[in-house]
């Protein structure tokens, strides 16, 4: 270098070499910067650019219905075996009772809106009315009908009232099964939901094990949606739990064909299970 410098010096190229050194330094700095960017920012800003899988959120269809007054005790949704007494609009009946009851004592909790309780109930009333039967009774008969209904319930002794509307959202789906909505990577959420819906474990698993049982499973989803591989990469230590995981995954297959951008990653999809 020294020798070359000396050779070039008389030819008037010295300032040019100075300029090269500077470029070289800038080049190194830029590379370092690019390296650093790759190393530290790869998962952050870069990942958001392309078509990366987002965190899956278990999305459930929001059920169509009236939100239940949170001051009321819960009702079991699956137990509504009360078709016989469905003469008048059943939901209005239930709403009426709520409206009568709510103002009586209820001292401490914030009274949200007394009027909102009956109104959505009344709004939702025509829907079940059409489905149940009830050939639209004349309004003047309504109070007598209600009285009859009450008398009937008391006389039968069971006092089981007409079916309640299930809690849900006013803009929900009649087939929905959730009360709130969420968004996320749809396909993965669907995989999650399908496995989740088949995720049943024996109730005989001891309580203390329920808290700490964990297992990691890797599955392979084929382009046609079949789950072709199931491997317990980290067993839980409880045979019946591991067996339940396998049957949960097997029963979830076949899934709908995955979208193109996920195919590569679905060759080995890890799933963390806990109870």
């Amino acid at each position: 270098m020294q020798k070359a410098g000396n050779a070039l010096a008389p030819s008037g190229l010295v300032p040019r070499q100075e300029r090269f050194r500077w470029t070289w330094a800038v080049s190194v700095c830029l590379h370092v910067a690019v390296f650093a960017g790759m190393l530290f920012g790869s998962s952050g800003s870069c990942a958001r650019e392309g078509e990366p899988p987002q965190t899956p959120i278990a999305a459930r269809l929001v059920r169509l219905g009236t939100p239940r007054d949170e001051r009321l005790l819960p009702r079991l949704p699956n137990q509504t075996p009360t078709p016989p007494v469905a003469k008048d609009a059943p939901v209005v009946q239930a709403g009426e009772k709520v409206a009568q009851e709510a103002p009586v004592p209820q001292p401490s909790p914030p009274k949200p809106t007394e009027t909102t309780v009956p109104s959505p109930v009344a709004a939702a009333a025509p829907e079940p009315k059409q489905q149940a039967k009830a050939p639209a009774d004349a309004p003047k008969n309504e109070s007598k009908q209600k009285l009859d209904d009450i008398m009937k319930r008391f006389s039968t002794g069971t006092r089981q009232g007409p079916a309640d509307p299930l809690p849900g959202q006013l803009d929900g789906d009649p087939m929905g099964d959730a009360e709130e909505a969420a968004e996320g990577e749809r396909y993965l959420a669907l995989v999650q939901k399908r496995i989740q819906s088949n995720y049943t474990v024996p109730s005989t698993i001891p309580d203390e094990e329920r808290i700490r049982l964990r297992a990691v499973v890797t599955i392979r989803v084929e382009p046609n949606g079949m789950i072709s591989e199931f491997k317990i990469t980290k067993p839980s230590g409880n045979e019946s739990f591991d067996a339940a995981l396998e049957s949960a995954v097997r029963r979830a297959s076949p899934l709908p064909p995955p979208p193109d951008h996920l195919r590569a990653s679905l060759k080995a999809l890890p799933i963390n299970f806990r109870i």
Partner: protein
Amino acid sequence: MRRILIHLAALALVVPTVAAAEDAQQQPPALEISGATFRPQPIAVAPPIATGDEVAAADEIYEALTFDLRVSGLFDVIPRAAFLADPREGMGPEGISWPRWSDVGAESLVKLQVTKSDKGLRASFKLHDVQPRRTALTMDLDGRRADARRLAHEFADALVKHFTKEPGAFSTRIAFVKRSKGAKEIWISDYDGKNAAPVTERGGIAILPAWSPSGGELTFTFFKRSLEYPNGHPQLWKATLSNGRNAAFTGRGDLNTGASYSPDGTRIAFTMSSDGNPEIYVIGVDGTGLTRLTRSEGIDTSPAWSPDGKRIAFVSDRHGTPQIFVMKADGSEPERVTRQGNYNQTPAWSPRGDEIAFTARDERLVFDIFVVNVDTKEVRRITQDQGQNEHPTWSPNGRMLMFSSDRRGKRSLWVSSADGNVQQRISTADDAEYTDPAWGPFTKK
């Protein structure tokens, strides 16, 4: 030239890094799946093997065993009508046609044989795992003919223990109130209503029995009309089960009711009123050291100890309506637990400590059984659209509940799995009215 080489080297370093980063980016995050649905273990109890005199006893054992397994909430007992296997099949494991049992969905299979023995009869039980085709548990129990059901309970306890590593609660006793001819008397029986015997025969009103933790004593509320008290004077009475004696324990003021033993058995919390305002007090089991715990203008009643003895649940209407509260055992830091419904009463603290069962009147003015989580305050419903259901009590292992229900007419006792999915009637000797169940502690063997 050298410069170019350096540049190339740098580039060569960068490119694989970028590629690696893209790879990592393609790797999806692991799916997290939790919130499993628990399903009862499908179990088949094969028809009992017995001949001659033992057939009736075998049927009794079979009936008691299937009753226990069903109501435990842990097992799905496959109906006998569905069985495909030869009813004459042996105890196994040799000779069992496993596919016939797995075809009906059984994961576990119980075989039962009853024979004569010196003590009366011998019940031999075998539990087989159907899939691995192996015997998991073998038990031979001897007992008197009259104790046939108790042998079944003992094996059911062993089954629960085998699967859950927790004790079963089928060999326990219950206390309850039986109504007859204007009187209410305290009775005790096995948990399934069999072997019932009266504790009181005083012709008055004896209600709200409470077991001492040792199981040797019952404290109950008793009152009878007299000249002095035309409407009766509710007092706490104690019954000693070993000698059948019962006597007044405390009768201060104008009302003493709703006893609950502390888990260590040294103290009793109860409701007492001397000025028309019932409050909760604690008294030593020897009758000394009366201490007042609550001081509110409302009614405070129905104390129930937590299993660790540090807290007491009770009912108070200090906020306007009867609600379940929890306070420390010294009466400090009362906290409201129920915020739904406007008539919540009769709390019973689960032996597991996390939940309190109670009776609540819902918006349809029907009494039903609910369970509230003490920490999260989340309320679960146990009964619905099945008549009036009241006064829950927990089994000592916290896996079952018992309450009174009028769903079949007169009020009778019903036992339910803790999730409420299985509810069965306790069959009693007659069709009198049965209420106020109190589940006794584990019996020592």
